[in-house]
C-alpha cells in the first residue's frame, strides 16, 4: 500500500517537474526542475528494486550532466542582477522544493526497507541470491566483457579525437624541460657579490 502511494507521489512530481522544465521562462530554473525530475526518477528506480540505477541517476545525471547544463546555461546571456533581486521573493518557493526533495529522500529510504514493488511482466527472472549491483557486475565482466572492452576503446578513440582536433603546438610557449632543470648548476645561476655600501648594483 505504502509503495503504491510512494509510486504515485514520485511519478506525479516527476511528470510535473518535467513539464515545468519545459515551461519555465528562466533557463536556470529549467535546469533546477530537471534535477528535481532526476531525483524523482531515482526514487522510482528504488521502488522497483534497482538501487544501482537509482544511484547512477543521482551521481551521473544530477552530479555531472545537470551541473554541466547549469554551466552551459550560465554561459548564456542572463541578467544575474535581476535574478538576485528576486532571491528573497523566491526563497519560500525554493524552500518548498527543498522540503519536497527531503521528504522524498526519507520516504525512498523507508520504502526501500519495505521491499520493492512487484512488477507484472518481467522478461528475465531476478536473481535472488545477489544484490543488483553485484548482478550487473557479474554480467558485465563475464558475458559482456568483450563489449565492455570494446566500449573502452570507443572512449579512447573519443579522447584521441578530441586531442587531434584541438591540440596545437603554439610557438612562444615556455615548456618545462626537466632534464635541463636537473642539469643546472648552482654555480651558473647564483653569483655572490661583495657589495660595497653606497654604490649601485651592477647587473
Amino acid at each position: 500500500m505504502i509503495q503504491l502511494f510512494a509510486f504515485y507521489l514520485f511519478a506525479c512530481v516527476m511528470v510535473a517537474a518535467g513539464a515545468l522544465t519545459i515551461f519555465a521562462r528562466n533557463p536556470v530554473h529549467s535546469v533546477l526542475w530537471l534535477i528535481v525530475a532526476f531525483f524523482n526518477a531515482a526514487g522510482l528506480m528504488v521502488l522497483v528494486g534497482a538501487e544501482f540505477i537509482a544511484m547512477l541517476l543521482v551521481i551521473v545525471y544530477v552530479g555531472a550532466v545537470a551541473v554541466l547544463f547549469l554551466f552551459v546555461v550560465m554561459m548564456l546571456n542572463i541578467d544575474f542582477a535581476e535574478l538576485r533581486a528576486g532571491f528573497v521573493s523566491y526563497l519560500p518557493f525554493g524552500m518548498l522544493i527543498a522540503l519536497v526533495l527531503l521528504a522524498e529522500i526519507l520516504l525512498g529510504v523507508g520504502i526501500w526497507q519495505a521491499g520493492p514493488v512487484e512488477l507484472a511482466g518481467r522478461a528475465a527472472p531476478v536473481p535472488t541470491d545477489m544484490h543488483n549491483i553485484e548482478a550487473i557486475g557479474a554480467l558485465l565482466y563475464t558475458r559482456y566483457i568483450f563489449l565492455f572492452e570494446a566500449a573502452g576503446i570507443i572512449l579512447l578513440v573519443a579522447m584521441i579525437g578530441a586531442i587531434v582536433l584541438t591540440h596545437r603546438a603554439r610557438s612562444g610557449v615556455r615548456g618545462q624541460n626537466i632534464a635541463q632543470q636537473n642539469r643546472r648548476n648552482p654555480k651558473d645561476a647564483v653569483v655572490n657579490v661583495n657589495q660595497p655600501v653606497g654604490q649601485g648594483v651592477e647587473l
Partner: protein, 482 residues
Amino acid sequence: MIETASLLMTMPELLLTGAGLILLMVATFGGDNSARLVGWLAVAALAVAGWSLCGLPSTGGEAFDGLYRADAFGAFAKVLIYVAAAVSIVIAPRFFATGNSGIGGAIRAEYPVLIIFATVGMGLMVSAGDMLTLYVGLELNSLAAYVLASFMRQDGRSAEAGLKYFVLGALASGILLYGISLLYGFTGSTSYTGIATAMADGLSNGELFGLVFVLAALAFKISAVPFHMWTPDVYEGAPTPVTAFFASAPKVAAMGLLVRVSMEAMGSALTSWQQIVIFVALASILFGAVAAIGQSNIKRLLAYSSINNVGFALVGLAAGTAEGVAAVMSYLAIYVVMTLGSFLCVLQMRDADGNPVEDIASLAGLSQSRKGLAAAFAIFMFSLAGIPPLMGFWAKFLVFDAAVAAGLTGLAVFGIAASVIGAFYYLKIIKTIYFDEPAGEYAPAGSTLESALIAVSAAIIVLGYLLNPLLDATSKAAAAAL
C-alpha cells in the same frame, strides 16, 4: 569465464586493437615525424590481421556466447575492409604533405591509428551476432570517422564535413538505438538468433516498428537514398584519402552488417523488409544517377556514384536468397576496387604547382598530357557505368541475375534502365578527358606507389574474369555461412 576459443576467434580484432595501442605510443613519443613509420606499421598490422583470418576466425562459429560470429561471411568482408584501410593509409602522406597551400601541413601520426581503430569497429560490425555488438562496432567506426572527416582542421570545408557527419551520424545512432530497444522489448532478446526465434511466429507491430527503425539507421550508414543527404557534403569536404576510405571500407562494413541483420535476425520477416529494401534500392539507383549529372566537382560526383552503387548492391539483398547475398558480396568486392581506383586517380589530379584540383572541367585534355592516367580514369568510369567487358558489368549482372531468379523481374528491369541514365555522367567524364580542348597543365605523376596501385586496380578491373572462380567460390561460401 572467457574461453580461449573465443579469444582465438576474435584474433583479428584483438591483434588490431593491440597494434593500435602500440602505434599510439609510437605516435606519441615519435611525434609527427614518425607518421610514415606508423603508417607502414599499421599496414603491416592489417596484413597480419588479414593473415590471422585463415583458421578459426573464419570457421569458428560463435564466440562470447553468440555476441560475435566468426564465419566465412565476416572473413570475406574483413578482407575487403583491410585492403581498403591499408590503401587509405598508404596514399595519405603525400596528399597531406604537398600542395595544400599550408592548410594541411604534414600528415599527423594519429591518422593511421584512427584508421586502425575504425577498422576494429568495422570488424565488429560484420561479425556481430548480437545487437549490442552491432551498436558498439558501429559507434567505434563512426567516432573514428567523424574525426577523420575533419582531420584537416584548418580547412573550413573539412571541419564542416566533420561537424555535419557528426550531427547526422549521432541522429542515426539514436534512431538505431531506439529500434534496437523496440526489438529488445518486443522479442525479449538482443541476439540475432533470439530475435529470429521470436519473429518466426508472426511479426508483431512493435517488432515491425523496431525493424523499420533499425533499417532506417543502417540505410543512413550505407548512404542509401532517403537518408543520403550527408554523403555529397562529407565526401567533398573530407580530405581525399579519407573520402576514399569512407567510400570503400565503411560501405562494405555497413552493407555486410545490413545483410547479416536482414538475413539472420529478420530472415523470417522477409516480406516485411523486402519492400523497404526494394524501395531504398530503386530510389538510390535513380537518385544517384540523376543527381550526379549536374555535378562539377569530381568528389561530389563520386559521392553520388557511391549512392547509385549502394542501390545496385541492395538489389541483390532484395532477392533475399543465398544467391542474392553472394551477389552482394561479389558486388562489394568489385565496387571496392573500382572506387579505390577512381579515388587514386582523383589524388593524381594536381595542377602545375602541385595543388590538388577537384574540378571535372580541369580534366579536359588529360589524354594528351597524362596518357596512362587518362586510360586508367576511362577504365574505372566505364567499369562504374557497367560497360560489358569490364568487371563493373559482371557485378551488376550478378545482382540482377539473383533478383530475376527470386522473381523480382520488374526491379531488375528498372535497375538496368536506370543504369543507362547513370552511364551518362560517367561517359561525360571520359568525353571531357578525351575530346575536350586541353585546359590547364597537370603535374606529372609524383609517386610510383600510387601509380602502381592504379595500375593494379585497373588490371583487376580489366582482367578480373581470371579471378572469377575465386570470387565465385568465396562469395558463395560467405553467403552459405549466414
